[in-house]
Symmetry: C2
Subunit: 402 residues, 2 copies
DNA sequence: TTTTGTTAGTCTAGTGGCTAAACAAAGTTT
DNA sequence: AAACTTTGTTTAGCCACTAGACTAACAAAA
């Protein structure tokens, strides 16, 4: 057994671990009685009673009226107090900023979206502050208030939370975490947008039942978030999942990263748009062509556009097949903007995978599109904040109760 | 804190965890005194004393004479009793079978290699039994005797230890684990050869200081073993790391797996040999051309052959770059037969990676060749057995001492 | 209605492994 | 020799757990 590598073990750790088990049980199976928790988790009734009391004091759970009797005393049902606090999740895109206020179960209580183009960092920062201010102000009164702020960004974030590079925003070496923490005096989590999306789908979306999920965020570029053994895998420095720049064609066209034949040259939104431009397609309203224009054309039955989508779906399949061979996942979820084109991508994509993936890899494998749509990332970072809050709550109370 | 998902926590777990910490400390820092262990792992002196006594009773450690005084009483030095038991590790290759007997520290005490060609399963099994018998018989007397048998195979092994497919041996759905367990009445571990190699390098070879290691086993085909967060990542069913069949050229030549442009068509030993045959190169002794012939030719200065190696090194780099983008590892280790050609592969390989890998991925990244040579896999499976034995020892004693 | 049986939740005593600190043992330094 | 240091053991106390007795609250049978 490989129990946590370095930390020593004592009764605090035991209590903390068990409290976490009890809380998770209540969250995932509410309403549930103390007795049922004890039986299902494998703890003594008395132990559960005591831990439940702690959680009640913390307002993390609450008792509802008595449940149905099964031939004896009626149980007191316990529920997760999802309104005990609220979390702010922000998804910063290349030309939009989407913010959500969620409760502790990830239910969206409020949201705000801003779209823009070519803003400077200072302008985006100002929009960011406004959005956070607005969402925080709109949170109902609750025992714990706002428990944290999470931000997803389309770029490279290191393990300390510093944004090393966000090419499409032209940001470099930006420590947004420090900026937000000092302004709001709250725990802040900065995460790569694909990682956030992966976590969002794991927690609240299509991936809730899987432990091994690969989330492919296909937008202007392609990023990938990895959920391995049930938790986010970030690699040595936090840079895992940069699969948009995986070579699928050794001597292919040159990518903005300097290499040749990168996956995102074939299967991203940008790839679609570039191909469409080459075909001399123009937008109906005279503006720059965008994905929605292509979708509209496809709906109108434009064969050329449909085949563009099919081509992209096929290439998506090529990369996803490489992913399957690498990770042997249970689930591959395709998210971000390209997910909106699932109708046109799906056939060629699944054909490619079912024809090409090694047979044993295809057992217990589902490939699907995002359930949370454009909210994946915002919900994911919000979930990070919530997780963090819950684990800290459990820790603090354990050590204070001494 | 995400402490183990499902198990409940009690005193046994605490003791088990701490005993494991103490044992690891002694293994990695011997000779060391009780006092030093207590200080470094953060446990109370008394606790350490008691745990050390348990370990002494188990013969897992022993006391040597007193160490140097630092101004007070001389410490009693503790050492890992690496001769407390022995483990058998077998690497089954396509045309060889390599067995080692190791002590609990992975030191090779005895070894036996058999080479063959086109043997049936029954013939290989018989060789396997002979090798195991020979190695077990040669083990010195020890408190725990043979603690387990590990076998690495060039094929697909599922999480239960069943060999689903070993194409080059023509094995299918073979439960070697059951066969060996019932014959030897010992714990048996069957593992994919690349996974075993990865673990071998992590435990005893080039990867001892890294937590995120990708081991590329480049032989006739290419397999990859993944060490993520310090432990082997096997994926949902045990089929991770099948990167030999990663597409690097969408419309490339057809692979035996049925797909096109697989990595191993460009960067494996077989790829080298096929390319050499096309050049009408022949072996000096009239037999089929093999890697050693090519190495000899390269040593003689044959430019054509050297450029074959260089080409393969470049393609190795292409795949490794994809790996880096996926996993953001600390270390990439190239092993198996192609590692013997490191001299000729290294330049083009490192050029490819340093030119192509994104700059931030190159910090704290080392790319190297196997340290254990042909022993990686055999040592790896042996290490699995040892790990398993040690963790079981700690558990049993904890629960029996009630 | 009363009795009996069942289930829920609390309470109490006991246990095991931990910590802190006293203590014994065995050195070095002055 | 006395004073100081360091190692390792022992003791007392603590804390979170378990088992099981107990109380509470219900259903079903008498």
């Amino acid at each position: 057994m490989n129990i946590g590598e370095n930390k020593t073990w004592n009764h605090h750790v035991v209590k903390e671990g068990n409290k976490s088990l009890v809380l998770k049980k209540i969250i995932n199976h509410s309403p549930i009685s103390r007795a049922a928790v004890a039986q299902e988790v494998g703890l003594n009734k008395g132990t559960v009673s005591s831990l439940v009391n702690d959680l009640l004091e913390d307002h993390l759970i609450y008792e509802s009226g008595p449940g149905k009797s099964s031939g004896g005393r009626r149980p007191v049902m316990l529920l997760f107090n999802e309104k005990a606090g609220y979390s702010v999740g922000i998804d910063i895109g290349v030309n939009y900023l989407l913010g959500v206020l969620t409760d502790l179960s990830g239910n969206i209580c409020n949201e705000k979206e801003v779209t823009f183009k070519n803003l400077s960092y200072e302008e985006i920062e100002s929009q960011l502050f406004d959005t956070i201010d607005y969402l925080m102000a709109s949170a109902p009164k609750s025992p714990h208030g706002i428990v944290g702020i999470g931000v997803g960004v389309p770029g490279i974030v290191d393990n300390s939370g510093e944004i090393l590079l966000a090419p499409n925003l032209k940001w470099k070496n930006l420590n947004l975490k420090l900026i937000l923490e000092s302004k709001y005096k709250l725990p802040v989590i900065i995460e790569n947008e694909a990682n956030a999306g992966a976590y969002g789908e794991k927690k609240f979306g299509a991936g809730q039942d899987s432990e091994h999920i690969i989330y492919v965020s296909a937008g202007i570029g392609i990023g990938v978030g990895l959920i391995l053994n049930g938790s986010l895998y970030k690699g040595s420095n936090g840079f895992s999942g940069e699969l948009g720049h995986m070579t699928i064609q050794v001597n292919g066209p040159t990518c903005r990263c300097g290499n040749k034949g990168c996956w995102e040259l074939y299967a991203s939104e940008q790839a679609l748009l570039t191909a469409a431009e080459k075909m001399q397609l123009a937008s109906s309203n005279g503006k720059e062509l965008d994905l929605n224009d292509l979708l509209a054309l496809a709906e109108q039955g434009d064969k050329k556009v449909v085949s563009l989508f099919e081509q992209a779906g096929d290439y998506l399949g090529v990369g996803i097949n490489n992913i399957i061979n690498s990770f042997n996942p249970q689930q591959v979820i395709i998210g971000n903007r390209m997910a909106s084109s699932s109708k046109w991508l799906n056939k060629t994509l699944s054909d490619r995978v079912s024809n090409q993936a090694l047979w044993f890899q295809q057992n217990n494998l589902t490939i699907c599109f995002s359930e949370l749509g454009t909210f994946s990332s915002a919900l994911g970072v919000s979930a990070f904040s919530i997780e963090n809050f819950l684990s800290v709550s459990i820790q603090q109370k354990t050590s204070l109760n001494a």
